[in-house]
């Protein structure tokens, strides 16, 4: 059974717990949590991740900046990114995907939808 390392980037502890709760249903999942973009970059420099799941509105460094930085970093540019945000307007979705995110989920999230997206990404990867 393969191990999957997920990086959950969220400033809200409630959402971090809810997303982690959902991801734990994927066999072999290991979850690392980060409070914001800077915290996520620190964790990316020390560990390898299969998928990054990030919020947009966060203090210090927001999710869009994080997506842009990851995509411009040769060491991490191929890591799939899922944006999970309250910003549900079509233009926000387009902006997130244009920056290089692989999927865009608007809150409130449904566990089944999140798992479908993540499993699709993991399936595509393997």
């Amino acid at each position: 059974m393969p191990d999957y390392n997920f990086l959950v980037v969220e400033d809200s502890p409630t959402m971090r717990q809810l997303i982690s709760f959902a991801l734990k249903r994927i066999p072999g999942s290991k979850i690392v949590e980060a409070n914001d973009g800077i915290d996520a970059l620190k964790k990316l420099s020390t560990q390898k991740f299969d998928v990054i799941l990030t919020d947009i509105n966060m203090p210090i460094m927001d999710g869009l900046k994080l997506v842009s930085m990851v995509r411009n970093d040769p060491a991490h540019k191929n890591i799939p990114i899922v944006i999970i945000t309250t910003e549900g307007a079509e233009e926000d979705r387009k902006r997130g995907l244009a920056l290089g995110a692989n999927a865009y989920i608007a809150k409130p999230i449904q566990t089944a939808d999140l798992l479908t997206v993540v499993n699709d990404i993991l399936g595509n990867k393997s």
Binding site: T86, K107, T111
Partner: protein
């Protein structure tokens, strides 16, 4: 004369021979006839048996067809039954998944609400739940001041400056919710809004400890992607009514007791110095 006699006896001889041959031929014909009759009888008998066989075979095949048709019908019935069961299982799976999702939301919300004794943090957690788990865009938490009998906004998200900072107990929808302890849900499409109406909220939930109202959560507008309230939203509302109230009440008491403890400690320190 002798010559004539000899000719006659020769002819008689010839005739006898012809007659004998005729007799032999007749005998042969009779035998052949007998044989043919026998064969004909055999054939007739044979064809009689073959007819019975054919009938028997036809009957067996008909029986087999009947049996197979019956079996086919049974298999089709079973197939339909299994398909129906499959559909039931699929529906049940979707229901269980939805229930699982609801329970996860409720568990996380409840866990987070009781994870702190800090009043400000408790407020922040309630805001997170209402925004991220329910999908509200403009909403507030109002606490009741029992001295002035007024509800005052202690935390809010996305609200404009025209929102009233405080409301008298019993005034308008929000005041009535606080007075009656009954939740208010506006009828109609919650997304059909021309900007938030701060006098007509979408939802107003009383924060109650038993029957005692200590505040209200008021939602004025939902996120653009939120189409309607689902079952889990109503579960979350009723969970918030009780758990958010106790979380806020206990964290407020804890903060007050901490403050009192610090004051008493300072007072004791002063006494010791003297």
């Amino acid at each position: 004369m002798d010559k004539e006699t000899g000719t006659i006896s020769k002819k008689v001889e010839e005739f006898l021979q012809v007659f004998k041959k005729g007799e032999e031929f007749t005998q042969e014909l009779l035998k052949e006839n007998e044989k043919l009759r026998y064969r004909l009888a055999q054939q007739e008998e044979g064809s009689k048996f073959t007819g019975r066989d054919e009938n028997f075979k036809l009957h067996t095949v008909e029986e087999r067809i009947k049996f197979l048709e019956e079996e086919n019908k049974n298999l089709l019935d079973r197939f339909r039954q299994v398909e129906e069961e499959n559909k039931d299982f699929a529906n049940r799976y979707v229901e269980v998944e939805a229930e699982n999702n609801n329970l996860a939301n409720l568990y996380v919300a409840s866990y987070q609400l009781h994870s702190t004794l800090d009043f400000t943090e408790s407020l922040k957690i309630i805001l997170e739940i209402v925004m991220n788990l329910i999908g509200a865009e403009e909403f507030s938490i109002m606490m009741l001041d029992e001295k002035t009998n007024e509800l005052t906004i202690v935390a809010q998200e996305g609200m404009g400056p025209e929102a009233r900072a405080s409301i008298k107990m019993g005034d308008g929808i929000i005041g009535k919710v606080a007075k009656s302890g009954e939740a208010f849900y506006r009828e109609g499409d919650p997304t059909n809004l021309k900007g938030a109406d701060y006098t007509h909220p979408l939802v107003s939930i009383p924060l109650k400890i038993k029957e005692h109202v200590i505040g209200v959560i008021v939602i004025y507008k939902l996120l653009v992607q939120k189409q309607a309230f689902s079952n889990v939203d109503y579960e979350l509302f009723s969970m918030l009514a009780g758990h958010a109230a106790t979380a806020l009440f206990s964290s407020k008491l804890y903060s007050q007791s901490e403050r009192k403890l610090t004051t008493i400690q300072s007072f004791l320190d002063l006494l010791k110095e003297k």
